[in-house]
Point group: C2
């Protein structure tokens, strides 16, 4: 059972076809909590194994409209994971230095090394989203970026990086509720940003920009998943489930890698001892 | 009750005076597990608050002989913490570029920004430890480093960084047991390193180098703690306890910072709405 919708390579996404309120048929809220804890523990074990195997790395991209739950996903899905070997990179408005390079430069620097997991909270996809919506660069520049992104992700995949991309899909009404809720809670009011309301005025343009990005940049090896995200508990469950499902496929290979590394290390140790006895 | 020993500024540490087997009187193993879970949850809340307050940052340095449990501490003490706002930096043998700069250069680049927690797994202290033991630079160079470290940490503290340093104190026998255990476990053998056995031959020189570093570089504002670390469960408990104890002292201030940020954000929003209605 797929809890998030994988975008098939070459397909044309229409977000209106995907229900942000969706929660799989037989899942209740309380069952989901239990399930998430189980998946969290399994994810922790898989990350530990990936780290020890030192063969693949994992890049996880989270995108979505403001308030769609990128921060909450990180907090709830990855709270059991060992912080050693797990980095989170948030992409904000580029600094002057970043802006003076190509749009992939700042992202490339912080991609995960062998064994590591890196979560991108926003990413270079902003360069075909906010940049496209507000025409921050000429159209002839941003239109080239879809292909540049595909080539970049291909490079990462060829170098044993598992690339998974999640679009947190919420409705326009749900966003309004979440923005208003922040204003009413003194512990959350610091998250209130004038910019969020201003960007909300471009909702349709953003949805369109996402449709194009998801359609053009979902590939078999670096797929986009559309995650129904109006219900936070379901969003967390869907992402954890998808992730664990994908990583399970590597488990045997990683166990073999780890044991091979162990045998090599022991051989070196024996060699040292032999020489010490000469 | 202090579970780890704070090194008073200006004192002369003799590690032989500290029992690596120590576990506080009334703590049993099973009580400790429960206590660690409680402290972990509190730590999670405090980090969340620090992140939202956006005022202080936290630098946590872990040092200790090979196998002393730096990785294990990160895994067990910080496994509940939100990975967003928590980074782990491991310091290995310097790259050519790193070595072409002063010894603090590579560390300074990765110190935590406002609101963030960064854990250093090893640190610039290696430049007065391994470097001193093996004379990797002339004595006149490394002798200056104690003062340079103090000045560097003062800079960080002046800029609202909370600096806490933990020395994981194990016995020479315990190290041998742990090294041998790795050889016998096929899932852990990848951690076996010829270098660990080679460095073990310099045990006494390392202990001496640690004594000097702890004595010269423990200050009121950036203290060293000696953590009895022969028992892993006690080591985790002692570090979590110390950390939570220190951070609790900031709780009210952070709550006030967070609410102030909230009021500012709401004021900006009101201003925007007023202008929109003109």
């Amino acid at each position: 059972m797929e809890l998030a919708w994988k975008v098939a390579e070459g397909s044309e996404v229409r977000l209106a076809d995907y229900d942000p309120d969706y929660t799989a048929k037989n899942t209740s809220h309380s069952e989901a909590k239990e399930e998430l804890d189980k998946l969290g523990a399994e994810l922790d074990g898989l990350q530990e194994l990936m780290w020890a195997a030192h063969h693949h790395s994992l890049l996880l991209i989270l995108q979505g409209m403001d308030t769609s739950g990128k921060d909450g996903t990180i907090r709830h899905v990855f709270s059991h994971v060992n912080p050693q070997g797990c980095a989170v990179q948030a992409f904000k408005v580029p600094t002057e230095e970043e802006a003076s390079h190509d749009f992939l430069w700042r992202a490339h620097k912080v991609t995960p090394g062998r064994g590591a997991l890196t979560i991108f909270n926003r990413s270079y996809y902003e360069d075909v989203l906010v940049v496209r919506v507000h025409n921050l660069v000429p159209e002839e520049v941003w239109t080239k970026r879809y292909k540049e992104i595909k080539h970049f992700e291909k490079l990462l995949v060829d170098n044993k990086t598992i690339v998974l991309k999640f679009f947190l899909h919420i409705s326009k009404d749900e966003q309004e509720q979440r923005l208003l809720a922040r204003e009413k809670d003194k512990d959350k009011a610091w998250k209130v940003a004038v910019g969020d309301w201003k960007e909300r005025a471009y909702w349709d343009e953003y949805q369109k920009a996402y449709e194009v990005a998801l359609s053009k940049c979902s590939t078999d090896k670096a797929p986009w998943y559309i995650v129904p995200a109006n219900h936070k508990w379901y969003r967390n469950l869907a992402i954890a489930h998808t992730l664990v499902h994908v990583l399970r496929g590597y488990k045997d290979e990683w166990q073999a890698d780890l044991e091979k590394r162990g045998r090599q290390a022991l051989a070196e140790l024996r060699q040292m001892r032999k020489e010490a006895h000469k």
